[in-house]
């Protein structure tokens, strides 16, 4: 092979593994949105945190945590530390041992070394390898919720039917703001002849995300047609792929978005 060809092919090889591993299948419903955070846990002698989105998204909007509390959208990027939690940031915004939710006091996040071994509380989050310590199980939450393709939870329907009522305001953290009028649903023309156009609903997205989860960080322009999307980029975790497949329903459920009949 000439070096010319090699130079051309090399980048493709570099990109290929990412594409292959990114979304190879629809994960089992309890594993969708599973995030393992080990930034500082190992250093402190604790097991990495296993965070399941299903538990928190059944009670809170995406916006509340990713905007008002400020968790980054990339696992491990926030750099959560015990000291920050105890100052009321990140997990500590709710997990302070005082705030109440659903008639119960929310357990406190781990404190800095020394006091961390007091009781089993640590295991509730620092639970990698000791899943038995979990107090709330997937079935407890998901049992009554509607399902969609691949047995995934249909969160959209669950919210619309009132089976989940995600909280969007946290006293002391969130700030009241004027609501914005929502843009009407619009369609995005598919770039191939064999796929239906995408119908995008602002309404369905804003319930969970407000404006700020997506604009301007993920979609800087709000003008329809300004940005061209490619499924490749989306698979790589850009645009829709920031959430879809990772936490929101999988990209492999094509007809959830591509639902406008080809003319």
């Amino acid at each position: 092979m000439t070096s010319k060809k090699a130079l051309f092919i090399l980048p493709l090889f570099l990109l290929a593994p990412g594409l292959l591993f990114a979304n190879d299948k629809i994960p089992p419903p309890e594993k969708l949105g599973l995030v393992v955070l080990g930034n500082n846990a190992r250093q402190a002698g604790l097991a990495p945190v296993v965070f399941d989105h299903w538990l928190h998204r059944a009670t809170f909007t995406c916006r509340l945590c990713h905007i008002d509390i400020g968790f980054a959208m990339q696992a491990g990027e926030t750099g959560i530390r015990a000291s920050l939690n105890s100052q009321g940031y990140y997990c500590g915004a709710c997990h302070d041992g005082e705030k109440r939710f659903g008639g119960k006091t929310i357990f406190a996040a781990c404190e800095e070394e020394g006091e961390s071994s007091a009781g089993k509380q640590c295991n509730r989050c620092h639970s990698q390898g000791k899943e038995d310590a979990r107090e709330i199980r997937f079935q407890d939450v998901a049992g009554k919720l509607p399902r969609t393709t691949g047995n995934s939870i249909d969160w959209e329907k669950a919210e619309a039917d009132g089976l989940v009522k995600p909280v969007d305001f946290l006293e002391g953290v969130s700030q009241k703001r004027d609501s914005l009028q929502l843009q009407a649903d619009f369609s995005i023309e598919a770039q191939t002849s064999w796929a239906s156009d995408v119908i995008f609903s602002h309404k369905k997205h804003a319930v969970w995300n407000g404006c700020e989860v997506c604009h301007p960080a993920i979609y800087a322009s709000t003008k329809a047609g300004t940005v061209k999307y490619s499924m490749f980029q989306i698979y790589e975790g850009e645009s829709c792929g920031v959430c879809h497949s990772k936490v929101a329903f999988s990209l492999f459920i094509c007809d959830k978005c591509h639902k406008n009949k080809v003319q």
Binding site: S3, K4, L7, F8, L10, P11, L15, H66, I67, D68, G70, A72, M73, Q74, E77, T78, G79, L84, Y89, Q175, R177, D178, L180, Q181, L182, Q183, A184, C211, E212, V213, H215, P216, A217, I218, A220, S221, T222, K223, A224, T226, Q233, E236, G237, E238, V242
Partner: protein
Amino acid sequence: MKKSLFFTLFLLLLTGLALAQTGLKKRRPLPHEYGRVELNNFSEKAGRAPVVFDHWLHRAKFTCRLCHVDIGFAMQAGSTGIAAADNERGYYCGACHNGRTSFAACSTKDQPATGTCDRCHSAGKKVTRHYDFRAFTEKLPRGRFGNGIDWEQAEAEGSITPVDFLAGVSIKREALTPQKDFDLTAKVAGMPEIIFSHQKHTVWNGCELCHPEIFLGVKKGKTQYSMTEIYEGKYCGVCHSSVAFPLIDCQRCHIKPVR
């Protein structure tokens, strides 16, 4: 051969751009970190830690204009190239940090044992700040993002009174007559229009901080701003992504109901 090299570089560039665009994947700064700037033009070469400058403390006390126009600090971190010698002559940090108005900036000569170097040259050091963010900002009106402080409100209600004149540096000027507020039509149907207030901006910035460097066209509608460009740090994005309230605070600008 040359072509393929070019192509490879182009691909890498594209990948880089794609990564750069998803800002929310990155961690958002905490309230006390918002507006933080690290300066290392000469520090490490001189054997000192880089300077950590937090905008919140200085903007609570001074207008943006005082430092960025009268003292002459550039709007891009690191491009002023502040040297100890400049400070000693009474410019840049040394305009105030001269041992009289405020503690003295580091000197090129041996630093006396006052320990003031660490107050600015603090990157990577465990320095207990003289001003604690929480204590300092406790009574200021809350804002949704950025420093978690509504600076505009703080100034309007008199919780802070930023100084706009520095004797020996600023020029005595007549009071400014601000231009009228105006609205900018949003490009997206249904999106509330933007009300731009010159009044609110001139309190902090005067005229020449924004014109013509950041906003060249004055005739309404002449310059077309796109959120994409603003998000890339142009126009409003020069300040409203780094120091002033950030761009995710949509309703702070898009406030006028569409007629």
